[in-house]
Subunit: 342 residues, 2 copies
C-alpha cells in the first residue's frame, strides 16, 4: 500500500464480494426502492423498541452481505461497525450475533465509509482475508435520542434532514468477484462554527470539500476521473454549499456527476423529508444498494463516495458547542480489471 | 504483517515514540501518582463542564505525547481516538484541536488498546508513518451519563467500579526510540448474560479470558512469555473471575504476574473506589504512565495489556439487555531489540 498524506492506495485491489442494504417504509417508497434487498413495511419491524428494530436492520444487512458472497458468518475474520446510537449499541449487539472479532468505530454519518475504508485497509495490507463493514440508523431512534420523543411530533425547519431507516453492509475480501476499492481518504475535523443541529448539511459541507480536495491532492486525480462523486448526506442545503465552495477553491464539478445520497434516497419534492436524507444508513444503503448495482450494470465505471458526519452530541449542542464535521472518501470501480490503475 | 486468526503480528516493529498520561485528583492520590505527567488538583480543571474537563485531559495527553517525541501536531498523520461519551465527543473535539485526519473508534473501556492496535496496524502496514492513539474518561461525565446526576450522591454496591479521571495518548511511529509493539489481538463480543451495570467486572471477565486464549492460540505464546499480563478494568470482582476461568480452561497464570489496571491505579483498600478503577482512561493511564516506565527501567521486558470493555448503554440496560463484553490485547516489549521475535 502506498501512502498519501491522508489517503491509502489499495495496491492489492480489495474486492466487495457481497453487499446488502435493508430499509424501512419511507425509503421503500422512494426512487431507489428496487435497489434494496429488503423493505420493511413497518417502522417497528415487529420489535419491541426502535433500538431493537435498528439492530435487526444491521443484523439482516450483515447476514445478507455474507450470504450473497456465498459464505457464512464463520468466514468473516473481522467486523468493523458503528452507528449513531449512544455507545454504538446497534453495532455491538450485531457484532455479538455475527461472532467475528469486532472493531467498533464512530464517525457519525461518515461511519459507512470509515468502516469500509478500514475494512479495505485491513484486507489490502494482509492483516485479514475477509472483513465485514456495516452501519445502520433508524429514523425513530435518532429522533428520540437527538431531538424529541417520537410521540411529541415536533415541527422542523426546512433545513432539517430526515434520518434514513436502514442498514448497509459490505464484505471485503482479498480476492473474488465484485467491485474493487481503489483508495480511500480519511478526513480531518472541519468546524466553521455552525451551531444549529437542524442545519447539519451546512455544518458538514466544508468537511466534504476538505476531504474531496485532499483526495485529489493525494491521488493526483481530478473530478473527471470519476463518473460520479456522491456526498453522504449534505442534502438540499449542504450540497449546493459544497458545490459552491469547490467552485471557489478551483475544483469545478463540471466534468463529473456530483450528487448526494441524501438527495438520491428520497423524492425530496414529494416525500416529507425536509431537505433530504441523513443518518449512518443514508450513504450506506445508497452505495451498497443503488450505486454498486449501477457499477455492476456498467452505467458507472468509477465512483467516489464521500460520506459526511456531524460529530455533535445533544450534550455538546446544549453546552453551546459548534458542530464539528468530517468526511471520509472511498473510490470504487466496477472491478474485473476495468478502470484500475494499481 | 503476518496474520493470525484474530491477531496481527507487527513484523516491522512499530515504536511508541511518545506517550503521556494526565489524571485527576483521585488518581493523583493513588499509588501510581508519580507515573503521570500531570495531576489536576481539581475535578473540574477550571472548565465550565465535566465534558469540557474530559476533553482538556485528552488534548493535554495528546499534546504531551507528541512533545515527548520531540515533534509537533503537524507531524501526526492520523489520530485514532475514542471515549465513553455519547458520540465520542471528547475525542472528536480533541481531533479538531490536533488537526490530523481522524479515525473515531469505540470499544468502551477497551478503546485504549483498540486505538493502539489500529495505530500500530496502520504504521506497520505502511499506511502511515506516525499515528496518535488516545482515549479519556472522567468520573463525573461517566456518572452523569451512565448513572445519576453527580449532585445526587447515590450509593453504590461494593461490586461497582470507580471511573478513572484521566487521559492517555501514545504516538506510534515506524522508527525511533521507545517500546516496541509486537502484536495485537482483536477481541470478539462475549456475553454470558450479566445484566447488572454495577458489576461490569464480572460482565467483562469472560471477554478478557476469550481474548487472552485467542492471543496464545494465534501467536503460539504462553503466559510465561510475558513478565506481566494486565487486564484493563476488571477490578476486585472481575479479575479473580478471569483468573479462575483461565485456570479452568487450562491456562494457569502461575508463570507470569497477572494483574489489573483497575487494581493498580488506586489503593483499593484506602481509597473509596468500591471494587477498583474503570473507564477508558484506566488502562490508558496505567499503561502509558506506569507500565511503559517500568519497561524503560528494565523492570519488565515484555507485557500484554488486555483492555476490557462493557458495551452497554443506559438504553440497552433499561430495555433489559445483557452487557456484551469485549477485550483487545496488545503486546509491548522494552524495545531496542530486546525480546523481539519478528
Amino acid at each position: 500500500m502506498l501512502k498519501g498524506k491522508q489517503s491509502w492506495w489499495f495496491a492489492n485491489r480489495p474486492v466487495i464480494i457481497g453487499a446488502s442494504s435493508v430499509v424501512g417504509p419511507e425509503e421503500g417508497s422512494g426512487p431507489l426502492a428496487e435497489s434494496f434487498d429488503l423493505v420493511h413495511p413497518e417502522l417497528d419491524m415487529q420489535q419491541k423498541s426502535w433500538e431493537k428494530a435498528e439492530r435487526l436492520l444491521l443484523e439482516q444487512a450483515s447476514e445478507f452481505a455474507v450470504q450473497k458472497a456465498g459464505l457464512s458468518r464463520q468466514d468473516v475474520q473481522f467486523y468493523v461497525g458503528g452507528d449513531l446510537m449512544n455507545q454504538i449499541i446497534s453495532s455491538s449487539f450485531a457484532a455479538r450475533a455475527i461472532g467475528a472479532p469486532y472493531i467498533g468505530v464512530f464517525g457519525a454519518c461518515s461511519t459507512s465509509m470509515e468502516s469500509l475504508a478500514l475494512a479495505c485497509q485491513l484486507v489490502d495490507s494482509g492483516a485479514a482475508e475477509r472483513v465485514l463493514a456495516g452501519t445502520a440508523s433508524h429514523n425513530c431512534t435518532a429522533e428520540k435520542q437527538f431531538r424529541y420523543p417520537t410521540e411529541y411530533g415536533s415541527q422542523k425547519p426546512p433545513t432539517a434532514q430526515f434520518t434514513v431507516t436502514g442498514a448497509g453492509a459490505a464484505l471485503v475480501a482479498a480476492q473474488g468477484n465484485g467491485p474493487v476499492v481503489e483508495c480511500a481518504t480519511i478526513g480531518k475535523v472541519v468546524d466553521l462554527g455552525i451551531k444549529d443541529p437542524f442545519n447539519m448539511g451546512a455544518a458538514m459541507a466544508p468537511a466534504a470539500v476538505d476531504t474531496i480536495q485532499a483526495h485529489f491532492n493525494d491521488t493526483g486525480r481530478s473530478p473527471g476521473d470519476y463518473d460520479l462523486i456522491v456526498t453522504g448526506d449534505l442534502a438540499g442545503v449542504g450540497h449546493p454549499i459544497a458545490k459552491e465552495l469547490l467552485m471557489k477553491n478551483g475544483v469545478p464539478m463540471d466534468h463529473t456527476e456530483f450528487n448526494d445520497c441524501g438527495l438520491l434516497v428520497y423524492d425530496v419534492e414529494k416525500q416529507k423529508v425536509q431537505a433530504g436524507g441523513s443518518g449512518c444508513a443514508c450513504s450506506a444503503v445508497v452505495t451498497y444498494g443503488h450505486l454498486l448495482k449501477r457499477l455492476a450494470k456498467g452505467e458507472l465505471k468509477r465512483i467516489l463516495v464521500v460520506a459526511t458526519g456531524a460529530l455533535l452530541s445533544p450534550i455538546s449542542f446544549q453546552q453551546g458547542e459548534s458542530i464539528p464535521g468530517i468526511a471520509h472518501a472511498v473510490a470504487i470501480t466496477a472491478g474485473n480489471g476495468e478502470g484500475g490503475e494499481a
